[in-house]
């Protein structure tokens, strides 16, 4: 795809006002890997500008929120910086940021740790014994963290995974549940109520509030799931992951 066509299909990015302390750079309205990668690449560049007055940046599926103090950094100045950065390249052709990390996370599929696996087999047209392999076949990208502390939305799964969430809410799924729907995988960092379908669980904890690095997964990171047995799940050494900062 040429530069012109990428922006024509997905863009152009639009700069919007987001409250009196926010500027939003919207790369699209839907979740698409190209839009999401543009957000991650742009986030890295905005962060590198290290503008005095920027409080934090918040990448999502489709946009980057820049929270800033308008009494330190004038909106017009920030907008000009952002527009200059936007004009520099076709962001929809951007490669994932070089500093993104790769994770291999063990998952115990089915049984008590994946109560909805049978239902998901029906929805995808897979046999029950194929679900684990199909789900872990492709590396996924952390498209956004949100909803609750450390909860990662990962995408994008093939089209057979394009089924809706449940209509009823499961009051509590555990931290580490592997939840699927709408071609995405959700990995919560805490126990949460959810309408997503649980096919497995990882012993990896993405959110460790008392640790020096409380959040292990960052927006844009690559995640590979690896099917493991109940025994391997029980033997997983999360403390070692925290010590080494990788998995």
């Amino acid at each position: 795809m040429t530069d012109d066509r990428a922006t024509a299909v997905f863009g152009p990015p639009i700069v919007r006002i987001a409250g009196d302390m926010g500027l939003l750079v919207e790369f699209g309205e839907v979740y698409h890997p190209r839009i999401n990668t543009a957000v991650m690449a742009f986030d890295t560049e905005v962060t590198d500008l290290a503008l005095n007055g920027v409080i934090e940046t918040v990448p999502s599926f489709r946009s980057l929120l820049i929270r800033f103090d308008p009494l330190t950094l004038a909106f017009k100045r920030l907008k000009a910086e952002v527009e200059a950065l936007l004009a520099r390249q076709d962001w929809y052709l951007a490669r994932p940021p070089g500093n993104r990390r790769s994770w291999v996370l063990p998952v115990c599929y089915g049984g008590a740790k994946g109560v909805d696996l049978g239902e998901v087999a029906d929805l995808t047209g897979l046999r029950e014994d194929q679900v684990a392999a199909a789900h872990s076949e492709h590396p996924l990208t952390v498209a956004m963290l949100g909803f609750s502390p450390g909860l990662a939305y990962l995408g994008q799964l093939p089209e057979i995974w394009d089924f809706p969430r449940k209509t009823e809410i499961t009051p509590k799924v555990p931290c580490g549940a592997i939840l699927v729907a709408v071609r995405q995988t959700v990995l919560p960092g805490t126990d949460i109520p959810t309408g997503w379908r649980q096919i497995g669980q990882t012993p990896f904890r993405s959110f460790n509030p008392d640790h020096s690095v409380p959040f292990l997964l960052s927006p844009g990171d690559e995640v590979r799931f690896e099917p493991v047995t109940e025994t391997a799940f029980a033997a997983y050494d999360m403390d070692q992951v925290l010590r080494e900062g990788r998995a």
């Binding site: 006002i17 409250g19 918040v58 929120l65 009494l71």
Partner: protein, 339 residues
């Protein structure tokens, strides 16, 4: 020696609040912090605390507290019935408590969120850089009967001071600016929204407030087709049935419901203190005007220590406090509220 307050009883929903957390939105953690940061600043001004110090936030009713040593405390925000060793005391003042003194904080009589501050701030555990209790995320200390909440070192010696009631408690026109998703609503819908009278419903908590417009449902042309992105403090979200909700301190960090406008930062305390069942209207302003108002708001907060006035008499020495009309706070008579 470390002193503090022992909780003899407490109303569920009471939380510890400071200015909240910054820098973790990208990991799904919203700021949290006091629902009324103006009231938080009032308490710091009354006690000479620093802006980061933590207070207890009450939602509707308080509790009973006993001093474990000589401490200075102060109250702010929503006016609540208050007794020191059984004798009524006015709100929005600092008070000296001796060992064993008890403070009874009853029901709210004006506003929604009341605060109890202690000189030096409550030293509960910090999570992600703040002491704010975030019930939904499981962060911070949840105050319960039997706890002893310790105070930090006071920054100055205690002198009894009070602050006048601030005008934002009566503010019923809230300022908003159009937001990044306003274009998902038709011009007609936006006009109806801007002119509507909104009633504050009982569906309210630290996450946000559902409001009922007299204009009928506010619907978006986008429906539910837009993917989630970051939610700002004060964003006004419209769910499928057309009910707007204004998202506040403990909101989710992201969402996919269309958002029609954003409440300005300076008016968040005013909204937080509007009683359930009361109504308000909106005024749509420009972003640059909102920034001017933010500057004024911060200047007012910074000026609060200078607004404190010495209490003429100690309430311990006063026989019939209500006769002095102190229930609404300290009124010197020669000051006016220009907040």
């Amino acid at each position: 020696m470390t002193v503090g307050l022992k909780i003899l009883s407490i109303t569920p929903g009471t939380t510890v609040q400071d200015l909240g957390r910054t820098g973790f939105l990208r990991y799904g953690v919203t700021g949290g912090g006091a629902m009324d940061v103006f009231a938080l600043a009032e308490g710091q001004a009354l006690l000479g605390n620093v802006v980061e110090d933590a207070a207890l936030e009450f939602a509707g009713a308080g509790g009973r507290f006993q001093a474990t040593g000589a401490v200075s405390v102060a109250t702010s925000g929503a006016v609540m019935s208050l007794k020191l060793n059984g004798a009524p005391v006015g709100w929005r003042q600092s008070l000296r408590m001796e060992t064993g003194d008890t403070l009874d904080i009853g029901a709210v009589v004006d506003g929604v969120y009341g605060y109890l501050h202690i000189a030096g701030g409550f030293q509960t555990s910090r999570v992600l850089g703040a002491r704010s209790t975030h019930l939904r995320a499981g962060f911070g200390h949840v105050p319960k009967t039997g706890d002893v909440l310790l105070a930090g070192a006071p920054k100055r010696s205690s002198n009894r001071v009070g602050l006048p009631r601030s005008g934002y408690f009566d503010q019923r026109v809230l300022r908003v600016i159009w937001g990044p998703q306003s274009h998902h609503f038709s011009e007609d819908t936006r006009a109806r929204f801007a002119q509507a009278v909104f009633e504050v419903t009982k569906m309210r908590d630290r996450m946000g407030i559902q409001v009922r417009p007299d204009s009928g449902a506010i619907k978006s042309a986008a429906g539910l087709t837009i993917a989630s992105d970051a939610i700002n403090l004060g964003d006004i979200q419209v769910t499928g049935d057309g009910t707007p909700a204004i998202l506040l301190a403990d909101r989710g960090s992201s969402g996919g419901y269309p958002r029609i406008a954003t409440l300005i930062t300076a008016d968040v305390p005013a909204l937080a203190q509007i009683p359930t069942g009361d109504s308000f209207t909106l005024e749509v302003i420009e972003r640059s005007t909102a920034v001017d108002l933010l500057g004024k708001f911060r200047a007012t907060l910074a000026g609060l220590p200078g607004k404190t006035a010495p209490m003429v008499r100690d309430p311990r020495d006063m026989g019939d406090l209500l006769a002095y009309n102190l229930i609404d706070g300290m009124l010197r008579g020669d000051e006016h509220d220009d907040n």
